[in-house]
């Protein structure tokens, strides 16, 4: 009895409530999307909402078990669980393919996707490994070993093939970044081989991951905008090419940053920060210019291929079908939405948006609730992510912190990619929207993920 008291009093209510709200929203959306007049009861097991509810029941039962078991167990079982998952990921490759992917264990609606659980297992083992390191992720060996932990399952997942989950595994890089991942051994190895140079650490090495992402983002943005032109409101009668626009905005941001710095920084640091901003501006502008000129100097067919991949080619009824329909559904929701069960584009019955109960579930939600609902959902997710990072940072145990970061980054990736592909910001790769999308494995794994986090957090004071 004392234990269940403690879980209720020690549970992080903001996270739990936002989690429950998302579950309810998701369930309501599935009920609306898959609604069948012949079986209107939400418990109807023949319908998708009935099945989802059953899986939710299983998930909460699992949650109950997790709450009852001492949190200490996860460090202990991390490695065996990881091994079992790997074995399942191998076995699944020999199963008959469904929709072109060998992702399912078992048959029919009760089948499970090991890839969903592989994320938890990897998160647990990675947390255990990094938390037990005496020296943080500073040496080549430890970095490679940590990377190996998620490379193996991601390669197995890629063989299914499941591009979505593969991408999600790269979220662990951010976790490692938080835990002190540095690429200095490599960078210094190159730099210090130049005679006369002797660095102890580099800024680039320690912040390699975010820099890498900024770089990739800038490249993609440049490509996406390379064929566009726009008329800025501050310079009427002029036309800017997309990349020029990026450089102009970078310049404006730099100026703003300078002003900002003047107000808030210590005098001593100012010249250094000035240098960083100036360098940052020059480097980013350089990248933009380089990418755009490189792109335009490519041969026509090469450009076409890149444009197709990035969705720059208008092909609303062909390659771009899914995204075009999804965006039509989201955009037509308007400010206040069409009303519950009134989704005309994305309901399963109208079927214009494929997979509108799973990967594209944001469509019917946004269509029914409009901008008001969409912004609320974005807000809840962002709030949840912030809360998890807050929880992570208050842990005394490194294992708990690292695990919390894993959960935050996995959820962030799912959120960003899933909603991004609904609004034309991300390529269409099928990954579920956490707590929302229909699908037993995904809902169960996300719930377990959150329940473990809640349990770990509730016991943070018991330790030591």
């Amino acid at each position: 009895m004392r234990k269940s008291d403690s879980i209720i009093t020690n549970i992080d209510w903001p996270l739990f409530v936002s989690f429950i709200i998302l579950i309810i929203f998701g369930m309501a959306t599935i009920y609306s999307v898959a609604f069948n007049e012949d079986h209107p009861a939400i418990f109807a097991l023949s319908e998708k909402y009935g099945k989802q509810l059953l899986w939710l029941g299983i998930s909460f039962f699992a949650g109950l078990l997790i709450f009852l078991i001492d949190a200490d167990i996860y460090r202990k079982v991390a490695f065996p669980v990881y091994l079992v998952t790997l074995i399942l990921l191998v076995i699944v490759l020999f199963m008959p393919p469904i929709n072109g992917a060998r992702a399912w264990l078992g048959v029919g609606s009760m089948g499970v996707q090991p890839a969903e659980f592989a994320k938890i297992a990897t998160a647990l083992l990675l947390s255990k490994y990094i938390s037990e390191l005496v020296v943080k992720l500073q040496t080549t060996k430890t970095v490679l070993l940590a990377c190996l932990i998620f490379f193996i399952p991601s390669i197995l997942v890629a063989m299914q093939p499941d591009a979505g989950t593969l991408v999600v595994f790269s979220s662990f890089l951010f976790v490692m970044y938080r835990e002190g991942l540095t690429f200095d051994p490599i960078i210094l190895g190159v730099l210090n081989s130049i005679p006369g140079i002797k660095f102890k650490s580099t800024w680039l090495g320690s912040h390699f991951i975010p820099v890498l992402f900024c770089f990739l983002f800038l490249c993609v943005l440049t490509l996406v905008l390379s064929n566009t032109s726009f008329h800025p409101w501050f310079f009427p009668n002029t036309t800017f090419k997309g990349p020029t626009g990026i450089i102009i905005s970078l310049f404006i941001f730099s100026l703003l940053a300078l002003l900002f710095i003047r107000q808030f920084s210590v005098k001593r640091d100012r010249s250094r920060i000035l240098l960083v901003i100036a360098l940052g501006f020059i480097i980013t502008s350089g990248i933009t210019l380089f990418v755009s000129t490189a792109f335009s100097s490519l041969a026509k067919h090469q450009r076409d291929r890149i444009e197709l991949v990035l969705g720059l080619k208008e092909d609303p009824d062909g390659r771009d079908y899914n995204r075009n329909r999804a965006m039509a559904a989201v955009g037509s929701g308007g400010a206040f939405g069409k009303g519950y069960k009134e989704a005309s584009v994305s309901s399963l019955k109208s079927n214009h948006v494929p997979e509108s109960e799973t990967d594209f579930i944001f469509c019917p939600y946004a269509e029914e609730w409009g901008f008001l609902g969409s912004i609320l959902l974005v807000f809840i997710y962002i709030f949840m992510l912030m809360r998890i990072i807050y929880i992570a940072e208050r842990q005394r145990l490194a294992f708990n912190r690292i695990y919390a970061y894993c959960v935050a980054m996995i959820l962030f990736y799912h959120f960003a990619i899933n909603i991004g592909m609904n609004i034309g910001f991300a390529p269409v790769i099928g990954i579920p929207l956490p707590f929302f999308s229909y699908g037993g494995s995904s809902i169960l794994s996300f719930c377990i993920m959150i329940f473990i986090l809640l349990k770990l957090d509730s016991q943070r004071k018991d330790m030591l």
């Binding site: 943080k136 951010f174 970044y177 938080r178 835990e179 002190g180 320690s206 912040h207 975010p210 992402f213 075009n324 329909r325 965006m327 039509a328 559904a329 989201v330 955009g331 037509s332 929701g333 308007g334 400010a335 009134e342 005309s344 584009v345 019955k349 109208s350 079927n351 214009h352 946004a366 409009g370 901008f371 969409s374 912004i375 974005v378 807000f379 997710y381 962002i382 992510l385 912030m386 990072i389 992570a392 940072e393 970061y405 935050a408 980054m409 962030f412 959120f415 960003a416 909603i419 991004g420 609004i423 034309g424 910001f425």
Partner: protein, 621 residues
């Protein structure tokens, strides 16, 4: 930097994504309309439902235009799976090649159109849209096909309605429907390709009153293009509404009788109820069965035949044929002269045959007698007095003033300009004014002596039979008329407002009695030219005319009204190449009047003779 501070980088990433996504959602959902339109394109279909066209009744409530159900065999290309053209051809009795040709025809004929704005040929054909493969099938035809349609997915039957004319009379009044043209579709969003529009007659003039209100149903369609539910529970739907019918002033039995009398002849009968201007019957002979022009198949088959027929059955003579009126015109001349005060009802003029030919009769000692004898020299003298009023010294200038005054009078009788009848496409006739003669002879180069043949309704004068009947109505009304019209009531609302308005002529009522007396004598006094129109029970007033025709036999014309007191029917009969007015036109008038007033026929012999006679000018191909 402390490791813990790295969380800010991560938080920054998350916040950037949050802000980016929020602004993108705001732009997509609140500001930009593109996606709303795209969604409508994708998922909403506007289905238009045409109500049946309004029915038309005659003045006694008989249904003379109704609708008959037909069937179209529709197809949607996307739903067709592996069409066996041989089996399908067998089902509809076509060769496989014809089936393929028909598909090609639909794709090119109904799908491709010339886009004016960009000068390109645009294909409008859509594989997910329904097109008629066969049109206008009867119930029998569709039932044999429908039995096997299950074997041909993608095909289905659709109910349509087409016009039906139970009486097969009045074709030139009722008009016909035909497929709308591209221009009409562009002009009026009501019409869709393949739809029908009134092409002539009542169907055309009252198109908007007949077509009804289109119903619009918004449906949500699935990716398979099936309608899955009504949009927003039908909140924006409108129901198709059939218009209330039109009631024509026409008496269908009288019309049928008139057409019977005029069979194998060329000419017209126009009968008007003087008090209301309602057209009781308007026969244009030869005529045709309106059922011949129902539906595309029939039109394609029959229209070329009818339009090539040398007897011109499609030509609505009462409205469009312009004939010299002959002696009936003298009535109007006398009225104008009395109004102008240049003669009095008792004025006499000698029958001076040296001016113009005349038959033997006593000198007319007044208007009534002049009308009775139809004395040509009398009306020369009368019209000369109108035209040459000695208002100017110069004879030519004087004639110009006189003629223009006369012209104004004529206009007030609805002559020389189009009557606003509710069938469009009529001709104005011709009443010359000074400008007209100036063009021919030069300014101040003509006087009454030049143009004197207008006195007796010959020369340049031309009237349509409708205008002739209207003269009879004006005289019956003693000076006014309501524009002759075909529709007595639109629904229960009565006729169009202009058909309630009295048009006053420039001649006062007092001057009519002598003319009417003359018309009475024409028929009822011994030696009157119109004695063939005499009836026992009722006093008929009339005037015969014989229109000289340089191309052949004279035309026979007769206008009349009856009864003399409280006239109920005014009419004009015009029979081409039939000789004197009294010989053919007058007996036809008497049969029509008796049929209308008493619904009986006394003079069976005359009726038989008229019905059986084929006038020589009717040519058979």
């Amino acid at each position: 930097m402390k490791l813990e501070n790295r969380k800010y980088i991560i938080i920054l990433f998350i916040l950037i994504v949050g802000v980016l996504y929020s602004s993108r959602l705001f732009y997509m959902q609140v500001i930009d309309d593109t996606w709303v339109l795209r969604a409508q394109e994708i998922a909403e279909k506007r289905k238009e439902i045409l109500p049946p066209r309004a029915v038309v009744f005659d003045r006694n409530g008989r249904k003379i235009v109704s609708n008959k159900t037909y069937y179209n065999l529709m197809f949607i290309e996307d739903n067709i799976t592996q069409l066996d053209t041989v089996a399908f051809g067998k089902l509809i009795n076509w060769k496989p090649l014809e089936v393929r040709e028909r598909f090609k025809e639909i794709k090119e004929g109904e799908g491709v159109y010339f886009n004016k704005s960009n000068g390109k040929k645009t294909s409008n054909y859509q594989t997910q849209r329904a097109y008629p493969f066969l049109k206008e099938l009867t119930l029998d035809e569709i039932t044999t096909i429908a039995l096997h349609l299950d074997n041909f997915p993608g095909f289905y039957e659709e109910v349509t309605s087409m016009r039906s004319y139970p009486y097969s009379n009045g074709a030139n009044i009722l008009g016909y429907l035909n497929e709308v043209s591209r221009e009409e579709i562009e002009e009026d969003r009501f019409y869709r390709p393949g739809g029908n529009i009134g092409r002539s007659g009542i169907e055309r003039f009252y198109e908007k009153e007949l077509r009804g209100r289109k119903g619009i149903k918004y449906v949500v369609t699935s990716a398979m293009n099936n309608a899955i539910e009504s949009y927003a529970n039908g909140k924006y739907d409108t129901i198709a509404k059939q218009s209330p019918g039109l009631t024509l002033s026409m008496d269908i039995t009288l019309q049928a009788y008139g057409e019977l009398l005029m069979q194998n002849k060329k000419g017209c009968i126009v009968a008007i109820e003087p008090k209301t201007g309602e057209i009781l019957t308007m026969v244009s002979a030869p005529t045709f069965d309106p059922n011949l022009l129902v539906g595309r198949k029939n039109i394609n088959l029959n229209y070329p035949k009818l339009s090539k027929d040398i007897n011109k059955p499609l030509f609505p003579r009462p409205l469009q044929a312009e004939y010299p009126p002959g002696s009936i015109f003298k009535l109007v001349q006398a009225l104008i002269a009395m109004q102008e005060g240049v003669i009095r009802s008792t004025s006499g003029f000698p029958c001076n045959k040296s001016v113009v030919g005349c038959h033997d009769h006593p000198n007319a000692a007044g208007v009534a007698q002049a009308v009775q004898y139809s004395c040509n020299p009398y009306f020369y003298a009368v019209v000369k007095k109108i035209i040459q009023q000695q208002k100017k010294r110069n004879n030519f200038a004087d004639a110009e003033i006189g003629l223009n005054l006369w012209h104004k009078y004529m206009n007030s009788f609805g002559l020389g300009n189009k009557l606003d009848t509710d069938i469009s496409g009529q001709r104005p006739g011709l009443i010359p004014n000074s400008k007209y003669y100036d063009r021919i002879y030069g300014h101040n180069q003509w006087a009454f002596s030049t143009i004197r043949s207008i006195s007796i309704g010959q020369g340049e004068i031309k009237l349509t039979p409708l205008q002739m009947a209207n003269i009879a109505a004006i005289i019956a009304n003693k000076g006014w008329y309501i524009t002759p019209h075909f529709v007595k009531s639109i629904g229960k609302k009565g006729p169009l407002p202009i058909y309630l308005k009295r048009n006053q002529t420039m001649v006062d009522a007092v001057h009519f009695s002598s003319v009417i007396e003359g018309m009475r004598r024409v028929i009822n006094e011994p030696g009157g030219t119109g004695s063939a129109a005499r009836l026992e029970e009722v006093v008929v007033c009339g005037k015969t005319g014989t229109v000289q025709n340089s191309q052949g036999q004279d035309h026979s014309v007769f206008i009349a009204f009856a009864p003399m007191d409280n006239p109920k029917i005014a009419l004009a009969i015009f029979v081409e190449n039939a000789g004197a007015g009294g010989a053919w036109a007058a007996p036809i008038a008497s049969l029509i009047i008796e049929k209308y007033l008493f619904n009986k026929v006394t003079n069976k012999d005359s009726e038989k003779l008229i019905i059986e006679t084929t006038l020589s000018n009717i040519r058979r191909p």
